[in-house]
């Protein structure tokens, strides 16, 4: 595979340096922007501070958590499959999470957000395992085939969801759930997103093992890494992050794909020192897209998934064409 992610060279770069500090400051500035921008005048109005606490702060925290989680998810999947074009939207994981959510809603109409989330996470886990099983069975001649199959798999799962939703008159709701948007993120609803913070921490701790597992079962076993366990752990992390984000926020298409790719284009493939950058850039892109969505047709909002879908598709195409030129 020509797009293999080369393994990390531990210690070749320090984890923290002034560039990272600068990047962090820039993202913080964006987040302050997110806190301040919106239809409601949080400083002028009487209940401004209350609204600030109920909507702006949760929304901004959600941006941070979802952006970081989904881009790290993409990175983990790319490491495990050694394929640059893999992420939750190109493997059907998101669609599985959606199907799980839908089925839970139908079986338990009054389900709490945690129950719904469990449904989504379990479905995402099964779907991702299915995709990995498929990848291990086939020998691939082209790395581009993987996302093609993954997207078709997603379409299959999506059509099942559509069928179920159509039978239960939930089709239009389905569209609303799936379209990722931070509009509805309020205090009392976004808190489950903190789960994905834990996912992020675990990824930081075991990232190198994902790289080794990505080199294949034999190599992993040779260097003393239990392949099965690492893949299982990776899948659980991906499913948790995707499931939770899908239920609370919705679909964030292409985020996990474009962020790790842009980072490694700029900085090369040094996993360990790239990780914080992947987080930062993920947060930055989601925040910028959300800010655009909030302001472009004020006082209405465009869901972040629309902007990400269009921008992400464009960036994805540029990435493919770049690879094509480099053979």
């Amino acid at each position: 595979m020509t797009t293999a992610v080369t393994p990390a060279r531990p210690g070749s770069r320090t984890l923290f340096d002034w560039k990272l500090l600068l990047g962090t400051l820039a993202v913080l500035a964006l987040l302050v922007g997110s806190l301040l921008i919106g239809v409601y005048d949080v400083f002028g109005a009487e209940d401004g501070s209350q609204m600030f606490a109920i909507t702006r702060i949760p929304r901004t925290i959600a941006l941070v958590l979802a952006g970081a989680a989904m881009s790290m998810c993409g990175l983990v999947m790319q490491l495990l499959t050694q394929n640059r074009f893999v992420e939750p939207t190109t493997t059907g994981t998101t669609e599985w999470a959606g199907l799980g959510l839908l089925v839970t809603m139908i079986l338990f109409p009054s389900a709490s957000i945690l129950t719904r989330m469990s449904g989504a996470v379990i479905a995402a886990f099964l779907g991702t395992m299915l995709f990995f099983a498929f990848l291990r069975q086939v020998s691939l001649r082209s790395s581009l085939i993987v996302p093609i199959v993954g997207i078709m798999l997603g379409a299959v799962v999506g059509s099942v969801s559509t069928f179920v939703a159509l039978q239960t008159d939930m089709l239009q709701n389905l569209g609303i759930w799936f379209a990722g948007s931070f509009t509805t993120v309020l205090r009392g609803q976004y808190e489950p997103l903190w789960i994905v913070a834990a996912v992020g921490v675990v990824v930081f701790l075991v990232a190198d093992r994902f790289t080794v597992a990505g080199l294949g079962e034999e190599i992993a076993t040779t260097v003393g890494v239990s392949y099965q366990r690492v893949v299982l752990l990776g899948t659980v992390l991906i499913a948790l992050a995707t499931g939770v984000v899908t239920v609370v926020v919705g679909n964030l298409p292409f985020l996990g794909l474009i962020v790790p790719n842009i980072v490694s284009m700029v900085r090369g493939d040094d996993l360990r020192s790239n990780l914080p950058w992947v987080c930062l850039l993920g947060i930055a892109i989601v925040t910028v897209c959300d800010l655009i969505g909030r302001t472009i047709i004020m006082p209405f909002e465009v869901p972040v998934s629309l902007i990400l879908g269009v921008v992400g598709a464009a960036v994805f195409i540029i990435l493919i064409l770049r690879q094509r030129r480099h053979g």
Partner: protein
């Protein structure tokens, strides 16, 4: 070990009656093929006739009876066109891409169709749909879809780095981008407008307009005929780019011609009845099993008949047994989708 015996040079070849390279060597396989073909043809005819005359509420021979027959014949004809387009396009597409788990519908035809329909309703409300009905509009949609496909081919298959996988992936991604626009617009629709739209977004045989047939039939037949005349070259194309070139075919030219024909077939089918993502996949997969030969002159007829039997059979059963003809296309999509899952889990190589 068979190998050992063949390695002995002196083994005289036993006198053979006929040595032939026919697509169906041996009488047993030839008989099996023709039995399958005749069986499919009979089934197709049975379903076709049953759909027309079964459960006709009017007494036989009256004017009302014939009116219903005419109406239903239109539906059968539409099914025939859709089955023909999807089967021919998918088999040809899988051959030239040398990949049996892709379908041409992923190239963005359907997302474009959905985006056009959604956009029309969003901008113009319910009147938007009526504005999209009509022969010129039908032609317009086909031209738009074929135009997009040809533009993509021209861009991505030309030049030094022309690459088929890049083409496929970019087609899919453009589809995904269009999809997010459609999803957003759908959120803004009122529930009644959304219901109107839903009817358009699922392949629906009965919603096809009889006025479109004089355009759809020649388009499908013309593209189909051109593909049929290339059937022998398709046999070669299935062996991949290098072998095709080595055997003296201009691979890129053949590829572009076949892909344009595929685009015409898919656009005709989609503009006629709406998206049918996995029908083609299901039909092609079944047809390879049924025909059991590499020769497209044998595979294509089986595929078309299989497509018609699947479509008309599902329609007949759902209509007369379950009284749920509205969900026919969705059921087919589901079965096709499940087939897809089974195939990717069983396939050894891509």
């Amino acid at each position: 070990m068979a190998e050992l015996t063949t390695a002995v040079r002196a083994t005289p070849t036993p006198p053979r009656t006929v040595r032939t390279s026919a697509a169906l060597p041996g009488t047993r396989r030839a008989r099996r093929y023709w039995l399958v073909l005749i069986g499919l043809a009979l089934l197709a005819a049975a379903f076709g006739i049953a759909l027309v005359v079964w459960d006709n509420p009017m007494p036989v021979g009256t004017a009302g009876f014939w009116r219903i027959v005419a109406l239903r014949s239109k539906n059968v004809l539409v099914m025939l066109i859709v089955a023909f387009c999807q089967a021919m396009a998918t088999v040809a597409f899988q051959t030239v891409t040398t990949n049996r788990i892709v379908t041409p519908s992923i190239l963005g035809f359907e997302s474009l169709y959905v985006a056009v329909q959604t956009g029309a309703i969003y901008l113009l409300g319910a009147t938007g749909l009526t504005m999209l009905t009509g022969v010129p509009q039908f032609i317009g949609q086909i031209v738009l879809m074929v135009g997009l496909a040809v533009a993509l081919y021209g861009w991505l298959l030309s030049g030094k780095h022309g690459n088929l996988h890049v083409l496929l992936l970019i087609g899919i991604i453009i589809g995904a981008g269009l999809g997010s626009v459609s999803t957003f617009l759908q959120r803004l629709l009122t529930p009644s407008e959304f219901d109107l739209l839903t009817a358009r977004l699922f392949g629906s045989i009965s919603s096809a307009d009889a006025d479109y047939l004089p355009i759809a039939v020649p388009l499908a037949a013309g593209a189909g005929l051109l593909l049929w005349r290339r059937a022998r070259r398709l046999n070669v194309m299935a062996l991949g780019r290098d072998v095709t070139t080595g055997l003296g075919l201009n691979h890129r030219r053949e590829l572009v011609v076949v892909l344009v024909l595929v685009a015409v077939l898919m656009a005709t089918s989609t503009a006629l009845v709406g998206p049918m993502t996995f029908l083609g996949f299901l039909v092609a997969t079944l047809a390879y099993q049924f025909a059991d030969t590499h020769d497209h002159r044998h595979v294509l007829p089986v595929a078309v008949l299989t497509g018609f039997v699947v479509l008309s059979g599902a329609y007949f059963v759902m209509k007369n047994l379950f009284y749920a003809q509205g969900v026919v296309s969705i059921i087919i999509e589901l079965v096709g989708g499940v087939t897809f899952l089974v195939v990717i889990l069983r396939k050894g190589r891509l």
